[in-house]
């Protein structure tokens, strides 16, 4: 079984953090964030 922590590489963490920063700064500027999560029925 692949554990959930399998994603924990510095490369992946860096990419995710960059995307998180882009999302937050977009909202701070009043823009639509690049990766919006929507509820799935």
């Amino acid at each position: 079984m692949t554990p959930h922590s399998a994603y924990l590489s510095t490369h992946a963490i860096g990419r995710m953090a960059d995307m998180a920063v882009a999302n937050l700064l977009a909202v701070a500027r009043g823009e639509v964030p690049p990766n919006e999560a929507v509820a799935v029925p």
Binding site: P3, A6, A12, M19, L24, L25, V40
Partner: protein, 285 residues
């Protein structure tokens, strides 16, 4: 933007990302990644933003208690389990970081696959214990790898195995995607066919509660056969029904939904770090 406070949970958020948020006029504070919901709500009081980088889970109702919060970001792809989004309108903008983890997860799954097929951990442990193995194993160059779910992680795993080892790839995807036709892989028509056709199966389903719970059971494991291997990359409740309802060797709960380590063939492997190579790495069949 002064006065906007962002709370980041977990220990993995890089310093460079923190600095980028601060350069954008935000203040950043971190909290542990294992708080319960009440603890996170308390930490988020008055916060403008939230980066969910730990293992905490936030229900749809939690957001109602955070009137000042304007944005939440889940660090990962499968946000539904960790960050429940309200059905109705919300003042919070919910965001996530889709598929940034695909390479890392596929890399890990490939390592597990290689470990299983070449019996690396077992051989190394045996050598360390003074047992010399002369048992030949298959090789990733000679097995057929079945990819169940050709999403971002499944595609990356297939690409890695095919490029690095020349592994033959068969796959099943629930929806037909014409763009997959150009890939050097063979599609099969059903999950059952995949288990029958492959020597090693990797499950790569995104969990959909109520939609794909426990999709693999005794019939698929029988089709894979006693020499087959199964690498479960999916969330465990979406994939494997316990064939006999027995307690798993790893001490998991008996019966469905699911055990990660089945008690009958094919073999699966609990995650075990491999720290050295044995002296017989060329003994492949």
């Amino acid at each position: 933007m002064s006065g906007r406070r962002v709370v980041v949970s977990g220990a993995t958020f890089p310093r460079s990302a923190r600095h980028a948020l601060e350069a954008g006029g935000l203040t950043v504070e971190t909290i542990p990644g294992d708080l319960d919901e009440a603890g996170v709500i308390e930490a988020l009081r008055g916060a403008w933003g939230y980066v969910l980088g730990g293992s905490e889970r936030m229900s749809a109702k939690a957001w109602e208690q955070l009137p000042g919060l304007e944005v939440a970001c889940f660090m990962g792809t499968g946000f539904k389990t960790f960050m429940e989004i309200p059905d109705g309108p919300s003042p919070v903008r919910f965001t996530y970081t889709p598929h940034a983890n695909a390479f890392a997860v596929a890399e890990f799954a490939l390592a597990q696959t290689l470990d299983l097929v070449r019996s690396i951990t077992r051989t190394v442990d045996g050598v360390a214990a003074g047992r010399w193995s002369e048992r030949a194993t298959p090789s990733l160059g000679s097995v057929r790898l079945g990819i169940a779910g050709l999403g971002h992680i499944g595609r990356e795993l297939a690409r890695m195995a095919h490029a690095a080892f020349g592994t033959e790839i068969v796959y099943w995807n629930r929806s037909r995607r014409p763009e997959f036709d150009a890939l050097p892989y063979r599609a099969v028509g059903s999950l059952d066919e995949l288990f029958a056709a492959a020597d090693v199966v990797s499950l790569n389903f995104a969990y959909e509660p109520g939609g794909n719970d426990a999709v693999v059971g005794a019939e698929q494991l029988r089709a894979l056969g006693p020499d087959g291997f199964l690498v479960n990359v999916s969330r465990r409740n979406c994939s494997i029904r316990s064939p006999c309802g027995r307690r798993s060797p790893s001490g998991g709960s008996p019966g469905p939904p699911s055990t990660a380590t089945t008690s009958s063939p094919p073999r699966t492997l609990p995650t075990t770090p491999t720290v050295c190579s044995p002296s017989c790495p060329s003994a492949s069949s």
